[in-house]
Symmetry: C2
Subunit: 288 residues, 2 copies
Amino acid sequence: MRDFSGDHSQLSLNTATVRKQGNLLDIIEACARHQIRAIAPWRDQVALVGLDAAVTAAKDAGLKLSGYCRGGMFPADGARRQEARDDNRRAVDEAKAFGAPCLVLVVGGLPQFSRAGSAVSKDLGAARAQVEDGIGELLDYARGVGMPLAIEPLHPIYAADRACVNTLAHALDICDRLDPDMTGALGVAADVYHVWWDPNLYRDIRRAGDKRLLAFHVCDWLVPTRDLLTDRGMMGDGVIDIPAIRRAVEAEGFSGFSEVEIFSELDWWQRPMDEVLETCIARHKTAV
Amino acid sequence: MRDFSGDHSQLSLNTATVRKQGNLLDIIEACARHQIRAIAPWRDQVALVGLDAAVTAAKDAGLKLSGYCRGGMFPADGARRQEARDDNRRAVDEAKAFGAPCLVLVVGGLPQFSRAGSAVSKDLGAARAQVEDGIGELLDYARGVGMPLAIEPLHPIYAADRACVNTLAHALDICDRLDPDMTGALGVAADVYHVWWDPNLYRDIRRAGDKRLLAFHVCDWLVPTRDLLTDRGMMGDGVIDIPAIRRAVEAEGFSGFSEVEIFSELDWWQRPMDEVLETCIARHKTAV
């Protein structure tokens, strides 16, 4: 396992971690100030400052990307499927403009939550089939552009409204069906927050291997968790054995960034940007 | 699938559903008033009125049990393991006094949450090993008493603090190792709230079969869910396709009660007991 204790050269900042403290250009400036070498920007943050300005600022600051957030939200009514298709292709193009190593896919849950206005459904199996069809279709486009897609299985807590792919095993099953030759065009994003509880975690990290492990995200699971979406913890403040998971991922050959992604309405989003980044850097050295 | 639309003869009330509205004797009276034929009492509610009084009241009211809540919380420091052992044996004895068909096991998470005062650990694998050892030991005792044990896999949201067995597959693996002959002494409690998201749900219900399916619990998953523990929904108010799951369970031969278990600080615990029971009965007919 790589030694992170001496510097933070392998840290990437998912820009949602400080989304309340400034716009993307502010965040890029702060990364430069703290010698952070990589980011993973969100599309809404990019849109706010404009794609060209964001790409230029990231390049000028010498920032690499660990991924681009995000495509997905595939389940939709027939009427909204073209919207989903177009939206996802734009996400691929934006990722390409940044030179991202992958576009992260949060695949969506039931159609009424995935694409607002879609008819109410309780058919999770149908949503999962739509997800796989949607990824398959987007994959054709993304291959053409040369942008790998990383399916991010989300914690089962989000099965209804954000992602109905909830285990690495399920994500890898989809990868194997759509990209049986393991071309590098399709893989997974492993976020410790989403996968730490899985009894098959280590088996499935081995199954993924270097060919499918496109991204590695860190934060922590707090007990108690006070909000289902926005009470994620700083690494070291929760119950996840993050180094054990990183060790397993790196044992497969993963050598990418360790991407810090913390949604924290009650705590970290309330603190100054510099304090948050300093803490991320410190914890990257001691708790990742 | 059994037709529930005409009456509520197959409804059992988990007494936590109205725990804020009265004590166990009040609840038993209310069940009699509403022609509810079965309950699943919680140990703390029993302790409050006394075991003998509770057993007598249930028998006088002609109530059967669908299960007894609950044993478990196995992970513990060495110093607290005897406490866990004794506590669980008492739970078996109490279940026997009621003539319950099974003791439901909520197995516990990391030791510091499972048995307060235990040293802090992030080793979920070790907790899972302790769970399996604990169940194995309790099973010897429970066999002697003639009390089946039902492992209840909890939603992964509770992996840290309440139960580190989070899928039917994991629970069934434990059953197969500890009771390979499928004697009826060990099985699972399938609660739709905990298992609905699982991509392997229907496969694992088939795997469980009638021999392992000892209990079936219903409520609903709300979107949004405002609290991790106490914001469960009334059947029909959420996103779970409950009839589809009941159909699968009954296809295996399950013919037990459909047990309503709703923890709802923000809604149902605030309403009069009779209103809650009337609603449970109505939804049992239309949404289960």
